[in-house]
């Protein structure tokens, strides 16, 4: 049994909230630069150049890439041989978010009540997902998520007979309806299977996978490629001004489901697809 003081979790979360908001992961940066080189439509090239200039400015001035510094989605893989000491996990994570968003001059974008509103003032609570895994490590990922793109996400309980084609149609319809709103070029996390709740989580987890790392299941790697190609034929383009690069990548995660169902969820993310990870 390994003991870890939750203070380390607080420190790590605080740090990652700031890091993730100022620097995109290397895979996203590389993909955005490659997209700029691959575009030949003038307005699209200019738009991608400005998006890449923005990344340079953010890093240089240590400013957030986007003023919507998001809700802090925190994913923890907790080794079952770890004993957490010094406080409870939820509090430790929220304290990390509170510190990160305050010390990092990030925008506080969370309201206490979904209908009656009221800003919590410190961007808490985090959206925390914990998985118990074998071993004695703690894996923490912080993925700040803006709502321009979150609001464009959709879920559908398709009929099994709609199959692969139904999934493709639903994803394309989602992107078409979203148009310029989710700040394209977008990244699509697609969940297929499970139940109403699990499929949404699958879609979110798909967004945690580094870009250009296809599904390990060849069937779904092929479907990812097909979806990316079709999305990029819609013409929406960077910022929705027209062009080839509507999406940077599509990632699919799946799980078994019921004989009577085919749940599909599409979690839309923007060009500011932010995440940071650490292993304790």
């Amino acid at each position: 049994m390994r003991e870890i003081d939750v203070q380390h979790i607080t420190d790590a979360v605080a740090n990652m909230c700031i890091q993730a908001n100022q620097y995109l992961p290397p895979d996203v940066q590389t993909t955005l630069h490659a997209a700029q080189r691959a575009e030949h439509w003038p307005l699209a090239t200019r738009t991608l150049a400005q998006i890449n200039m923005n990344l340079a400015q953010a890093a240089d001035k240590q400013l957030p890439i986007c003023q919507d510094t998001g809700m802090a989605c925190v994913f923890i893989e907790l080794g079952q041989d770890v004993h957490l000491t010094g406080g409870n996990l939820d509090d430790a994570v929220n304290e990390g978010v509170r510190r990160g968003y305050t010390e990092g001059y990030l925008r506080k974008s969370v309201v206490q009540d979904p209908i009656r509103r009221g800003n919590t003032g410190d961007n808490t609570p985090a959206l925390l997902t914990v998985h118990i895994v074998p071993g004695q490590q703690v894996n923490i990922t912080v993925a700040p998520k803006g709502f321009g793109s979150e609001n464009m996400s959709r879920i559908a309980m398709l009929k099994p007979a709609q199959g692969r084609e139904g999934v493709v149609d639903f994803v394309l319809e989602t992107v078409r309806l979203a148009g310029p709103n989710p700040c394209p070029p977008i990244v699509l996390g697609v969940g297929i299977g499970g139940s109403f709740d699990k499929v949404a989580l699958l879609a979110k987890q798909a967004l945690l996978r580094p870009l250009n790392q296809p599904s390990q299941t060849p069937y779904y790697a092929q479907l990812e490629a097909e979806l990316l190609e079709k999305v990029n034929q819609l013409g929406i383009g960077p910022a929705g001004y027209g062009g080839k690069t509507t999406a940077l990548d599509v990632a699919i995660e799946t799980m078994p489901t019921h004989i009577a169902g085919l749940p599909v969820a599409v979690n839309v993310s923007c060009h500011a697809t932010r995440r940071a990870s650490v292993v304790l």
Partner: protein, 186 residues
């Protein structure tokens, strides 16, 4: 090619712009988003003056992240303009000349813009640190209680924007993707 414009914007200058044009804006612009629009509409309906003169003005739909000590402004990208659609025609009637934001506008707003000779500019959503680099001064002029949503007077230098909707009904969100797709068929 980039067209350079300075505030206050003249109706004659704006009339020459077309959807898709690249423009660099310099001068004074004002931030206002949801809550500030609600209050501005209430003032106008009550016949009271606004925190700034609307005639020839340019509103930027934005709420910045907090500025660091010694910094001019935090990250300041545009928010979705559609949420301001309900109050925009009223502001246009009172002289609002330009808006900077992201996302499509309602047919009512587009019609009111044509009537007023106003233009809707796009700044790239999410390019908030780049926008900050073009802001040389910032001060809160009204409704500090709204926090990030307070009305700010910004001085900007060559803020790079694109004409999204012009005074003759041009709409880049329609014409841009359509032109790109047509170019691929050739």
């Amino acid at each position: 090619m980039q067209i350079e414009l300075s505030t206050p914007l003249s109706i004659a200058q704006l009339a020459k712009l077309r959807a898709g044009d690249n423009v660099a804006i310099s001068g004074t612009i004002y931030t206002a988003r949801d809550a500030a629009h609600k209050r501005m509409a209430e003032l106008l309906q009550a016949g009271q003056p606004l925190p700034f003169a609307l005639q020839g003005s340019c509103i930027y739909y934005a709420g910045p992240s907090p500025a660091k000590p010694g910094g001019v402004i935090g990250a300041i990208g545009p928010t979705t303009a559609g949420r301001m659609d309900a109050t925009t025609p009223l502001l246009l009637q009172h002289g609002l000349a330009a808006m900077i934001g992201k996302g499509a506008r309602s047919p009512e707003v587009l019609a009111a813009m044509q009537q007023a000779g106003a233009v809707y500019f796009g700044f790239i959503g999410g390019a908030a640190a780049l926008a900050a680099a073009h802001v040389t001064a910032s001060k809160i002029i009204a409704w500090e209680d709204l926090g990030s949503e307070a009305v700010r007077e910004l001085t900007v230098q060559n803020l790079p924007v694109t004409v999204l909707a012009d005074t003759v009904g041009g709409d880049l969100y329609k014409s841009g993707p359509a032109a790109y797709l047509a170019s691929r068929k050739k």
